[in-house]
Amino acid sequence: MSDKSHDPNQMTGAAMIVRALIDHGVTDIFGYPGGAVLPIYDEIFQQSHIQHILVRHEQGAGHAAEGYARSTGKPGVALVTSGPGATNMVTPLTDALMDSIPLVCISGQVPTHLIGNDAFQECDTVGITRPCTKHNWLVRDVNDLAKVLHEAFYVATSGRPGPVLVDVPKDVQFATGTYHPPRKSDVHRSYAPRLKGDATQIRKAVALLASAKRPVIYSGGGVINSGPEATKLLRELVEVTGFPITSTLMGLGAYPASGKNWLGMLGMHGTYEANMTMHDCDVMLCVGARFDDRITGRVDAFSPGSKKIHIDIDPSSINKNIRVDVPIIGDCGNILGDILQVFKAEAKKPDIKSWWQQIAQWRARNSLYYKKSNDVILPQHAIQSLFEQTRGKDTYITTEVGQHQMWAAQFYGFEEPHRWMTSGGLGTMGYGLPAAVGVQVAHPDSLVIDIAGDASVQMTMQEMSTAVQYELPIKIFILNNQYMGMVRQWQQLLHGNRLSHSYSEALPDFVKLAEAYGAVGLQVHKPADLDGAIKEMISVKRPVLFDCRVAALENCFPMIPSGKAHNEMLLPEQANDEATAKAFAGGKALV
């Protein structure tokens, strides 16, 4: 007894949690207290290594942790109480699972002897979060806690990253046990993600690349997740091969938008040249992307004439939607490095001049064209103007979900990875504002802007209060079209323009709302005032709600109607009633 009391590794479960966070290099966590986590909050109170950011809703903690993770490459950490605290985390956990974001969530649970009794604020947290985490644990013995916490960090950040949850009953937080620092044996022996690509497959890939006449590189969020080395290698590969490159929504910034081989984003709202290049190519190199339905359109008409190489760390992504010819399982960075090495040693730059000429013709269609106006602000113009004025600044962009998100992806040029935080897989309205909070916590001196929609932003608006409390000068740039624009667009195109419940009735006065929170409110109506107002927004060193009134009925083009092929996209200048009706015929049932 007396021996043990001097052992520095003897501590309570609550102390172990804080200690493990410190041992994993965590400096900031996002959370909300409650009965089942009070012992942990008591420990947080008595230390100064970790800053705790108090959010206003647990969903906010989750998205803030996601923003933090995506902008730093480090895991984000959230702490919530049992019952409603845990259920409020379901959306961000699912969001992080879909977008492969490393998240560690610690939740309190009722004491072990009450589990299963329908105790106050009890819920089956591990049951509820099982399908929305990469893995989760309920810790019933304080002596298992250190191992589980270390394993949780490892699982979240290794292989294909993702969210994990550790559920800790209150009695386990109070109990005393033995802590140990992270060590190798803390990890399941059954979990060993493969990192190195198969050498034979890599040779096959290089042979295909070297013989390509009409190649394309299609990269995704996996490149960014893999780390700075992968981005560097991707850029080098484009340089060495001279191939055109496009990217998914999640992958923007891995190759710079100003780069000469850049085709713009692909997919449902991608550029004409990106989608046509994908459709007509003869060799496709997919790096860290997963042939999602927003990308492929109609699968049986997807890039019909190409040989496909697919690099992915998750074997279950291979041949899931699209059959590929050369799968390579492993870490993008590793494999790109190997491909480059073999390519440089054994191949030379294929001559693809005529392919580039073809691409230039597609590019000349100018598929992102829109008509500026002197009377109303076009949303595309607002993003372009925001881009021009933040160019060269140390800027991070988050978004909500809807038309504004797609316009941001189309018109904001990303030069670097980790600068673009958006909810891709789940499409979570309400993601952007709390994500901006998380990004700003990680990068206190940077310019952090949430490109928002008038409807989405109201889903997590309460986090403005968090921003004010912690003096986080986030800028919420609302493209206010007074509609759930994306819903309205689909209703117009697919449901006879019956605008069922997509009008933003009773919008709050965003300027007054900002002021009520103790933030700054700005509003602009006229194109002529836009630049000045954006300048002002940037110069204010406080949180800003920027109410940018834009054309209400603008649609987001180009668009591949659901279930159509890449070469059946609808371009803005063609989108008259008749062409639209034809393009969307038969697609109603699809999402």
């Binding site: 893995h135 979990y191 359109g297 699968v299």
Partner: protein
């Protein structure tokens, strides 16, 4: 479920379905079976049969045997999805190895008198089913074999007064000296 889960496969693809038996070696920890079952229901895969039991107590290893159906592409997905679960050590497609033995045990209760009773006993004998309980008006047979054999036996018992059946589901193991 004929196709992978994608919004674009609303028209049926007509790849033929196949039946595969998968042996899954897992860490025996709380929730592991729920994870596996949740994967199947969540992604719309079929479970024809599922058995699970701890097989190596000291190492906390359990073996789950799953019989599932789907197109070759879906079967491939199922194996990868299982394999990427954290507590899963190995997934072996016993059907692909073509060297596996599959067995199932069933207990079959039959109630009847006179000719039916005699006939039931006679058939049980032919199928090498054992009588493990008997009353003057009923038998419980124990039968082991592959799924087809058991189905056939049950079909034959139906007109003879079949009352109920309890089946273990399929267990499978590879032939020869090597383990999985």
């Amino acid at each position: 479920m004929n196709q992978p889960a994608s919004a674009y496969f609303i028209e049926d693809r007509h790849d033929p379905n196949e039946t595969h038996t998968l042996a899954v070696l897992v860490q025996n920890e709380p929730g592991v079976l729920a994870r596996v079952i949740g994967l199947f229901s969540g992604r719309g895969y079929n479970i024809e049969s599922l058995t699970v039991s701890e097989t190596e107590a000291q190492k906390h290893l359990s073996r789950i045997t799953i019989v599932t159906t789907g197109t070759p592409m879906v079967i491939e997905q199922i194996k990868h999805q299982l394999d990427r679960m954290i507590p899963v050590y190995r997934v072996v497609d016993m059907t692909l190895t073509k060297r596996s033995i599959e067995r199932e045990l069933a207990m079959v209760k039959v109630r009847g008198q006179g000719e039916h009773r005699v006939e039931a006993l006679r058939l049980a004998d032919a199928f090498r089913a054992r009588v493990i309980d008997a009353t003057t008006e009923s038998f419980v047979f124990e039968i082991t074999g592959n799924t087809d054999k058991i189905n056939q036996f049950i079909d034959l018992m139906r007109p003879l007064g079949l009352v109920e059946v309890s089946r273990t589901g399929v267990a499978a193991i590879g032939r020869g000296p090597e383990g999985m």
